[in-house]
Amino acid sequence: MNNKHEKIVPKRDKYENIKKAWYKFSLNRMSVVGLVIVCIVIILAVFQPIIAPYPEHVGAYVNFKDASIAPNSTYWMGTDVFGRDIMSRIFYAFRGALIMGVGVLAVVVPIGGILGLIAGYWKDKWISTAIMRITDVFLALPPLILALCVCAILRPTLFNSMMAVCVSWWPWYTRLVYGMATTLRNELYVKSAELLGASKGHIIFREILPNCLGPIFTKMTLDMGWVILTGASLSFVGLGEQPPIPALGTMVSDGAKFLPAQWWIAIFPALAIMVVVLGFNLMGDGVKDMLSSEE
């Protein structure tokens, strides 16, 4: 019979790893709060046309009869000077913010990461020096200023502001991965893979990269918040999504003109920015707890 050599395997829960990760993540209650905030924001952004009370108010909609109404039971966050419901516009602006965050990270993490891996693995070679010196140059300017610079010379659109943020954001990943890769390349398992004749690609992507993923994921969660914040700063000065499409920063700067009498026009979008960034920040702390190897 073939069953003769059947091994006795202790029954394992299929979801054990996920359960463990969740346990670590949920140890800090604030991380769960962050996760809930992020989920709500995503749901609001995706299902804006269904959830928002006045989905048609996002565009060039004008209703002067209801202009500048303070928050009430019909318009929970009030209306702006054109009579548009601010809450519906904020929900829509979440879309732009999330697209910005995801889009930027989708570009900068691979680029920055690969450059960091190359520079870290071939440390002491000219290529590493070249990459890291270029990184230094980009890091010499605060990200917001570099993004403003690039954004200002391009036509203001959501896509261009994403490009501008990308230009200023990749060096942080290069530096992060470089730091890890320079240590990891001296680990025994990397040396043995080299001895066994593994290809460079295998060593970099299958041996070194998986061990860098934890900090990368943590930074990505935190950066979602920061990228959205930078995007809001860009749209605040008019270098983002153009009106009438709502963007959080634009809504704040437009509303600032009507302070203090019509405070709700600026304050609610400003709060929205804070809530989104707070959500990703709290969640980032949880991801850090989850991925750190310390028990």
């Binding site: 010499a140 300017l141 403003l148 010379i153 036509r155 302070l259 203090p260 400003a270 707070l278 709290l282």
Partner: protein, 339 residues
């Protein structure tokens, strides 16, 4: 050790050179003809052509870059399209204001952040710690321009104790220019009324600028002090019966400040970034507001000048931070530089 410092300064000069190339490239990506943009659509072609020659736009890119760099070394940064003056004149006028506001911000940020961090550690897990942690979360997640708006709302209208626009009040005359920083100039001139007024104008914008960095510094100081407090050397000192207060300030604080100081160096650089929006809001005539307007008007020469100056400031801040870290961290001091 001297060699190490020289090496580091060499690296910084290299960064500056790279930055100048980067700025030049960004400037050349501008769609359209800078000369045409400067003169407007109705200027005759000969005039535009003359300006092109004057701005060296007819030469190859490499020559253009070398000429620009040569000029920049002689402090000739070209003419601003906005103010129609040499950029260097504008810089002389606007830079001191920004330096004034940013250095006050940086000082408040460093001192306040570290103090809050110490308080948070000393009374950890008490209500004070809880409040500080909530405040620091709020500080971290809200951009400077949101604070600026909140301050303008609260102080500008409801509680008018601090002015919300400009550098000095309308009834006050500007001091004779010595440093360009109004507070210092007033003091040098012995004008106390002016000094108070100029200082009052700095309060709100500088606090709006620094809250994010303050929160970050407080958080990092707290976590690094908490981490160090479980180390053996602290345990040994406790076993010797050294008073807690003395341990906290004499032995725990110094090594715990190293991560804070490195984060502060980044935050100081980003103060200049936030200043781009905050100066605009408070109508504060500084270099950042000038840079912001240059960007919105695609004023090439002014943009390059502002970016290069910020790069130089960044490097000076970094050298300063290096010195502070060397003071705090004997490993760096003795090995001569660390990484």
């Amino acid at each position: 050790m001297l060699v190490n410092w020289l090496k580091r300064i060499g690296t910084y000069l290299l960064v500056l050179l790279g930055l100048s190339i980067l700025v030049f490239i960004i400037g050349r990506v501008i769609p359209g003809d800078p000369a045409r943009q400067a003169l407007g659509p109705r200027a005759p072609e000969e005039v535009v052509q003359a300006l092109r020659v004057e701005m060296h736009l007819d030469k190859p890119y490499v020559t253009q870059y070398v000429l620009w760099l040569k000029g920049a070394l002689k402090l000739d940064l070209g003419k601003s399209l906005m103010t129609r003056r040499p950029v260097i004149e504008d810089v002389k006028e606007f830079l001191p204001a920004t330096l004034e506001i940013v250095s006050i911000s940086a000082l408040l940020m460093a001192v306040g952040g570290i103090l809050l961090g110490i308080l948070s550690t000393k009374y950890s897990d008490s209500w004070l710690d809880g409040i500080i942690r909530v405040i620091s979360y709020l500080g971290i997640v809200s951009p400077a321009f949101v604070w600026a708006i909140i301050f303008m709302l609260v102080f500008g209208y409801n509680l008018p104790i601090f002015p919300t626009t400009g550098r000095i009040g309308l009834t006050i005359t500007a001091p004779p220019t010595v440093t360009g920083m109004y507070t210092i100039d007033y003091l040098l001139n012995g004008d106390i009324v002016g000094f108070k007024d100029a200082l009052a104008h700095l309060v709100l914008p500088s606090i709006a600028l620094m809250l994010g960095g303050l929160a970050q510094a407080a958080r990092i100081t707290r976590s690094s002090m908490t981490e160090n407090s479980t180390k053996d050397y602290i345990l040994a000192e406790q076993a010797y019966g050294i008073p807690e207060r003395k341990i906290l300030f004499n032995y725990l604080l110094k090594p715990s400040l190293i991560p804070t100081v490195s984060v502060l160096s980044l935050d100081m650089a980003s103060l200049f970034g936030s200043a781009f929006l905050v100066e605009q809001l408070f109508n504060f005539p500084g270099l950042s507001r000038y840079g912001m307007q240059a960007m919105l008007n695609k004023d090439l020469n002014a943009i390059s000048a502002v970016v290069m100056i910020l790069g130089i400031v960044f490097i000076i801040v970094n050298i300063f931070i290096d010195i502070v870290v060397a003071y705090l961290d004997p490993r760096v001091r003795l090995m001569g530089g660390g990484n």
